[in-house]
């Protein structure tokens, strides 16, 4: 048995979603929870320059646990960039596509940073910590690009930009039982923390930024732990409290299938510098009505007016063979697009994929197939997301 692509049967990374493996000449960085993962028997993988848990036991079981109970993720590879100063809000309004000065203290926004040509450099969550203070959370692989772009775009504003990624660990607890597991461990009244809100609190006695955000399609929290080396205390307390509720540690493999089912984009797949937010169907994050100029405005105004060249659709296979990213999508035998992500969906019990197709494509008629290494797998076109939790 050998791996089809590179001759190594046991290298699972070629299809690991997201970003390419880091330069093998440099050893991957370890998170503050590395020892915890090793003790839990995690399969670790080099992801964006970090040695991260891919899975602990069965990734399918981890996925199901998040849908039905809860899962605990180490996301310490994500980057945290702080903007502090009287013009922090104005600087972000100029640097990002969103209207960040309108965000209330304690709330968060999903937004993006684009180049002048409107191409997406990263998708971000921005927390407003104070009148003059924001925390920008970036994808691991993009932290250097985002940090330097923010520093450059903030010059001329009265604000300081600091890449504090190394100071933070990030732990996410996700799933319908996250609230009852977290509640006894925190000083926060969790009913007061709405979706996309975040405040300074304690968890297990450790000071944290506690935010109701996530990337799984479930209710849950992201816990920014500072200093980073106190993460093992928080992790251990959550596992001890949560295990009787069905909480399991969960790796990047289940995180990817969870976000895919929830129809959430992943940078490097659904988003990249060659696409605008409008291409990805996320034009709503671009606030063209905000005052002042911002980087990418002219290109994005143009993109908002013109018919989209491509759009993102969902595909559900009628067969069993998993769909993967980078596979041609055909309508009645003619190539009309390409998959951006694909995986077996544990919740649907079928292979799913997201795909970019021609913007004016009629999906109501015709026979759709995906070319899986020369075999045409018949698929149905569906609305995204594939999965939506009952609220």
């Amino acid at each position: 048995m050998t791996e089809g692509e590179d001759g190594n049967a046991l290298r699972t990374t070629p299809i690991l979603s997201g970003v390419p493996m880091s330069d093998s000449a440099t050893a991957p960085r370890l998170t503050a929870l590395h020892k915890t993962h090793e003790e839990a028997g995690a399969t670790l993988v080099d992801f964006a320059g970090w040695l991260m848990p891919l899975r602990y036991s069965s990734e399918t079981a981890e996925h199901t646990a998040v849908r039905e109970a809860a899962g605990l993720f180490d996301l310490s590879h994500m980057g945290e960039i702080r903007l502090t100063g009287p013009q922090a809000a104005e600087a972000l309004d100029h640097a990002l596509v969103g209207f960040l000065s309108k965000v209330k203290v304690g709330r968060a926004r999903y937004t993006m940073i684009t180049a002048e040509d409107g191409g997406v450099l990263d998708d971000l969550i921005v927390y407003r910590l104070g009148e003059q203070e924001y925390l920008v959370v970036a994808n691991a692989a993009n932290v250097p690009v985002v940090a330097s772009a923010l520093a450059e775009r903030a010059s001329g504003f009265d604000v300081e930009v600091a890449d504090e990624s190394a100071d933070y660990s990030l732990i996410a607890i996700q799933g319908p039982r996250a609230v009852e597991i977290l509640a006894p461990l925190t000083d926060a009244d969790l009913d007061d923390i709405r979706y996309y809100a975040g405040y300074e609190h304690t968890v297990a006695g450790v000071p944290v930024l506690l935010a109701r955000t996530g990337y799984t399609g479930e209710d849950g929290f992201e816990i920014f732990v500072r200093p980073a080396d106190r993460a093992p205390e928080v992790w251990a307390a959550l596992m001890a409290e949560g295990a009787p509720h069905g909480l399991v540690p969960a790796g990047l493999s289940s995180r990817d299938t969870l976000r895919m089912e929830a129809g959430m984009p992943l940078y490097g797949q659904e988003l990249n510098a060659g696409l605008t937010p409008f291409d990805a169907g996320l034009g709503r994050v671009v606030k063209l009505d905000k005052p002042g100029d911002f980087v990418g405005r002219a290109a994005l105004e143009e993109a908002s007016r013109t018919a989209r060249e491509r759009r993102l659709i969902g595909l559900v296979s009628r067969g069993r063979r998993p769909l993967r990213k980078g596979q041609d999508v055909l309508r009645d035998g003619t190539v009309i697009g390409v998959t951006s992500s694909g995986a077996p969906s544990p919740t649907l019990g079928r292979p799913i994929a997201m795909a970019y197709v021609d913007g004016d494509l009629d999906t109501a008629t015709g026979t759709f197939t995906v070319d899986v290494r020369g075999r045409g797998e018949e698929v149905d076109v569906v609305e995204l997301p594939f999965y939506k939790r009952q609220s």
């Binding site: 048995m1 050998t2 791996e3 089809g4 692509e5 049967a9 046991l10 290298r11 699972t12 990374t13 070629p14 299809i15 690991l16 399969t43 891919l54 899975r55 069965s58 990734e59 399918t60 493999s253 299938t257 069993r320 063979r321 998993p322 993967r324 995986a343 077996p344 290494r373």
Partner: protein
């Protein structure tokens, strides 16, 4: 990780058991564990000829696609049809219920590893 002593092994992580001229083929527990949850298997069909060292199918996990190489030359006489509905059997029971296909051996397989040799090989990969 279990490595039954009565089986033969290949360096590509297949196992083989030959009895009365019929070889049963599967992938090892080490391979299944390394790949993660197996979600799809393609075996050869009954009547196909397979050749030692050549591709005889595919196994896909959540995050990987791997070729299965036949450790033996001959004609396929039986395939494990239960794997179509339950490919996860390869994870839970790789050396018994997770067998892939059976071959009427036309040439005795050469170069098989013993359980001890295979164990040494997998320890070297870690």
């Amino acid at each position: 990780m279990s490595v039954p002593t009565e089986l033969g092994y290949t360096a590509k992580h297949e196992w083989i058991a030959v009895r009365d001229g019929i070889a049963t083929v599967g992938i090892t527990a080490y391979a299944a564990e390394s790949l993660g949850d197996i979600v799809f298997v393609e075996t050869p069909s009954v009547g196909d000829d397979v050749t030692a060292g050549e591709t005889a199918g595919e196994v896909e996990s959540t995050k990987s696609v791997s070729d299965i190489y036949s450790p033996v030359t001959g004609e396929v006489v039986e395939v494990n049809e239960a794997l179509e509905d339950a490919p996860e059997t390869i994870n839970s029971d790789p050396f018994e219920g997770g067998w892939l296909f059976r071959v009427r051996v036309s040439e005795e397989p050469a170069d098989l590893l013993s359980a001890e040799e295979y164990t040494k090989l997998t320890e070297g990969e870690n």
